[in-house]
């Protein structure tokens, strides 16, 4: 009995996931031929609630790409892989408090902020470095022009509200 219920539950979940994935995919399917540009796949995956690193994204793309990469990802390949990802709840988003801790690691003196230069250094030299465009965009919203620094606690709060 429990199995049946589980199966039903999973089936319903899968059906719903399929619809969600299809919707997100179609937003980028410009020619209505069930393909999207590989460069947009990251956006699709992330907007479905996942938060992969660039490396993880890379691996995922390799799974959905054609044998001979064409620059396009087909829906038929994307759907099953993405469904698995959602079912397994892979690449969960980062909770607010973990994010805060990450900033605090970069601010060992516990000042409550990072200078603009520090932020740039970390974001463009460490981890999976930002492009210049990404850096500029982040700075435009994050940096308080008067102090030329990012008060990360406020920043996080602002961004989180924005998400909702």
């Amino acid at each position: 009995m429990a199995d049946d219920r589980d199966r039903d539950g999973t089936e319903v979940a899968v059906a719903e996931f399929h619809k969600k994935i299809k919707e997100a995919f179609e937003v980028f399917d410009h020619e209505s031929n069930n393909t999207v540009d590989v460069r947009e796949v990251g956006t699709i995956i992330r907007s479905l609630g996942c938060c992969p690193s660039e490396g993880e994204l890379h691996d995922l793309i390799a799974e959905v790409e054609e044998e001979e990469p064409t620059g396009y990802i087909r829906f038929e390949k994307f759907l099953p892989v993405m469904t698995e990802v959602l079912l397994e709840r892979r690449y969960r988003p980062i909770p607010e408090d973990i994010l805060l801790r990450a900033f605090e690691v970069l601010d060992p003196a516990k000042r409550g902020f990072l200078s603009k230069d520090e932020l740039i250094k970390y974001m463009t030299e460490e981890g999976e470095p930002f492009s210049q465009e990404e850096m500029e965009e982040m700075l435009s919203a994050a940096i308080d022009p008067e102090s030329n620094s990012i008060h990360y606690k406020d920043y996080i709060t602002m961004m989180v509200i924005d998400e909702n």
């Binding site: 937003v27 956006t43 970069l106 970390y122 460490e126 930002f130 919203a141």
Partner: protein, 753 residues
């Protein structure tokens, strides 16, 4: 010492690793944030587009309504007949002699107190420049000069061919601009950034100068002024909005009447004529074809070059009964001679007018594909509905033919089927274009490119078609052209290439849907005809906003429009919800919510993506739908106490309602009589199957007749029920809700560039 260093190193290494991981985490989080923003941006875009195109379908419905009236309505009384005649007898623009009557503007006195620009003819370049400057300083041109300028413009336009020929030998560079839609700031920006027109700097403006924005009049004045000053270098193409009937709906008529209360009607009349004298296309070096909409697989440049473009007053005009009879005769003749010409509604290209199944799927796909690089959206007319309408119109025509075939009088006439027949006792009757000529013009003014091969009816717009890469290719080859430049569609970046870069869409109205929604662009063609695109966004405020803020405000605007649409269909949506809630729990699963809403609105939107923005509270992952619908209604409560179902109906039909008002108000006075209102509403609601009693509407109307003089002020009516978002003090268009944050307007000062 050694161990000390290695411990330090160890810590340093650990710290470095921690920092690395922390940075990676922050980046990972940020990238997801950006991706979600991007998705929201796309969804917002698709909301605007789908609502815009749904509005155009409304226009089609409206025309069907009027056609229906014409075909079916037998006035039972003298009053009704007069009433109908008033709506349908098109006030043709005055005969040529009358137009050139200088009494039109000469008699208008310009008071000494007038501080605006004064024009004298022939215009000099300095005058045109001064005009731009005056408008930038928000001055208004006196009606006398407006009329004078329009007269002169008309005189010039009449001499031009249908297809302008431009050569790069004379001007070193040619700049092509797309839709401006009354956004003067964009035009001024282009002139400041790119330079004013001159003998060395040619310009082509590709139609849709008016409607929607608030400065359509000023844009026309500037464009016509430069056209007169540099006739060889300054070129204008007609767009689908250079059309007095379209203007009734999309705001230009309202703007003119608001800015020119006394002489507005005269101005509109003259404009009606001027618009049909605008050339249809421009050809550069016989290699680059510039036209407003697009092409079809039947586009025939030779025919287009030869036809009398002046005959095509409006691509949306209502046929008078006389014309219908004549057309019926022609068709009757055609039927009798067994020709292939098959009667069909004007708006469907004849070759594809019938709803056979091969057409349907491809048009649907074609439509979705048409928005290449922007979100596929919008919705074709429901196939059953479309085929029903087509069939009914076809049936009507056939019926009439059969009836009339029985009349000996008709057979005697033996009119030549050429519609240029002048054999008409009514001197006012102007010659008609042939259906083929008509179609050719509609095609080039209304068509959109699509990614798929082929050519299908443009059911979204209700006119023209979707043309595929093969159609483009064939046309380019047939006429030895290099590529096509067209406008007609808003693009997020202001431009877009398609069909292997053989078609360039150029759109010059930035922030078209909302501040921050899109860039504008223009294209320069050098002597080698390679296109160089320049982009801009004529609002300083947007430069200082972060991407997040820009997206938020545009999104808010789109969501507002969407919520309004949802409200306007609350009753139908409730019915659908109940179908998914057989147990009457009052709750509905999100998946069902999405399905229900789409089945009513047919907007083709990604509802699941939008759900978080539209639905806030959930119990157990389910939505309490009744209160959700009630909340939508709360936003729309007006001062008057109207039942929400009536309000809902008004909202659903508000654009049509406004258009109908303005049509009835044939003298553009801004008010119509209660009787007229009641009359039209009766006809309209019965045709559209709207379930509102006459009494209800009459009470409503009476309550709006504030000064009890038996007349309704259109704008007051619409505003009283908040059917328009803002008052028409600026001649603003009521079609899409706009951010009315006045601080933004102040920020816009493109002259500083």
């Amino acid at each position: 010492m050694g161990s000390g260093t290695s411990t330090q190193h160890h810590f340093a290494f650990q710290n470095a690793e921690k920092a690395f991981r922390a940075a990676a985490l922050i980046q990972r989080w940020y990238r997801r944030y950006v991706a979600r923003l991007e998705m929201r941006r796309r969804c917002t875009w698709s909301i605007f587009q789908s609502i815009e195109y749904a509005g155009q379908q409304d226009q089609v419905k409206l025309h069907n309504f009027f056609s229906y009236l014409v075909d079916h309505f037998t006035p039972s009384s003298h009053n009704e007949r007069d009433f109908l005649n008033r709506i349908f007898t098109e006030e043709r623009s005055p005969q040529a002699s009358e137009t050139q009557n200088c009494g039109d503007y000469d008699s208008i006195e310009v008071p000494d107190s007038y501080t605006g620009p004064r024009l004298s003819f022939p215009l000099l370049p300095d005058h045109a420049t001064a005009l731009v400057e005056a408008f930038r300083r928000k001055q208004r041109l006196h009606a006398r000069y407006v009329l004078n300028l329009l007269h002169e413009a008309r005189k010039h336009l009449v001499q031009l061919p249908n297809i302008n020929q431009v050569s790069t030998c004379y001007s070193e560079e040619i700049t092509v601009c797309g839709d401006l839609h009354g956004q003067l700031d964009d035009l001024i920006f282009i002139f400041y950034k790119n330079g004013l027109p001159s003998p060395e700097r040619a310009y082509v403006f590709n139609g849709d100068f008016v409607d929607r924005g608030k400065d359509s009049v000023e844009i026309l004045m500037v464009l016509f002024a430069f056209m007169l000053v540099y006739p060889k270098e300054f070129h204008l193409n007609r767009g689908n909005h250079e059309d007095h009937i379209v203007n009734l709906r999309y705001g230009f008529t309202k703007e003119v009447m608001h800015k020119y209360k006394i002489h507005g009607k005269k101005i509109l009349k003259l404009l009606q004529d001027v618009f049909c004298w605008l050339p249809l296309a421009t050809l550069v070096d016989e290699k680059v074809l510039i036209l407003h909409g697009g092409v079809s697989d039947r586009t025939d440049l030779e025919l287009l070059a030869k036809l009398d473009r002046h005959k095509i007053v409006s691509t949306m005009r209502y046929k008078t009964r006389k014309e219908n009879k004549k057309q019926a005769e022609e068709k009757g003749n055609a039927n009798q001679t067994g020709s292939a010409g098959r009667p069909s509604p004007w708006f469907l290209p004849q070759s594809r007018s019938l709803p056979s199944s091969p057409l349907r799927p491809s048009t649907h796909k074609a439509h979705r594909a048409g928005r290449s690089s922007s979100v596929p959206c919008g919705v074709p007319l429901d196939p059953k509905e479309l085929s029903r309408r087509v069939r009914r119109s076809v049936d009507l025509e056939l019926e009439r033919c059969r009836q009339q075939a029985g009349f000996p009088a008709i057979k005697e006439k033996e009119e030549p089927s050429s519609s240029e027949s002048e054999v008409d006792s009514d001197a006012e009757e102007q010659p008609q274009p042939t259906p083929e000529e008509w179609r050719q013009v509609v095609d080039i003014l209304w068509s959109d490119p699509m990614a798929q091969e082929g050519c299908g009816a443009n059911t979204v717009r209700g006119g023209g078609c979707y043309f595929g890469p093969n159609v483009t290719e064939r046309l380019l080859q047939k006429y030895h052209l290099q590529f096509l430049i067209r406008s007609h569609e808003c693009k997020p970046e202001g431009y877009e290439f398609c069909h292997s870069r053989k078609v360039l869409t150029i759109f010059s109205a930035s922030n078209y849907y909302e501040v921050g929604s899109n860039r504008g662009a223009y294209v320069k063609l050098g002597p080698d005809l390679t296109p160089h695109i320049m982009q801009f966004q004529a609002n300083k405020a947007t430069h200082t906003l972060t991407m997040r803020q820009r997206i938020s405000r545009v999104e808010e605007s789109a969501l507002r429009a969407l919520r309004e649409k949802l409200f306007a269909h609350s009753s139908d949506i409730l019915v659908e919800f109940k179908k998914h809630d057989k147990d009457e729990t009052g709750l509905i699963a999100l998946s069902d919510w999405a399905a229900a809403v789409e089945s009513v609105l047919h907007l083709g939107l990604p509802w699941r993506m939008l759900r978080p923005q539209l639905v806030s509270s959930l119990t157990d992952n389910k939505l309490a739908y009744k209160s959700w619908l009630e909340n939508l209604a709360k936003e729309k409560l007006s001062q008057q106490n109207i039942q929400s179902s009536l309000l809902e109906t008004l909202y659903r039909n508000r654009s049509n309602l406004e258009t109908i008002f303005r049509i009835i108000d044939s003298d553009h006075s801004g008010s119509i009589s209660l009787d007229e209102f009641r009359h039209t509403w009766k006809l309209f609601s019965s045709h559209m199957n709207i379930d509102i009693t006459d009494d209800c509407i009459c009470d409503l109307a009476r309550s709006i007749d504030f000064n009890k003089d038996g007349h309704i002020d259109i704008n007051e009516f619409l505003e009283a029920f908040r059917l328009v978002e803002q008052s028409c003090s600026g001649g603003d268009v009521s079609d899409c809700p706009q951010v009315t944050n006045s601080s933004n307007r102040d920020c816009s000062s493109p002259g500083a560039h």
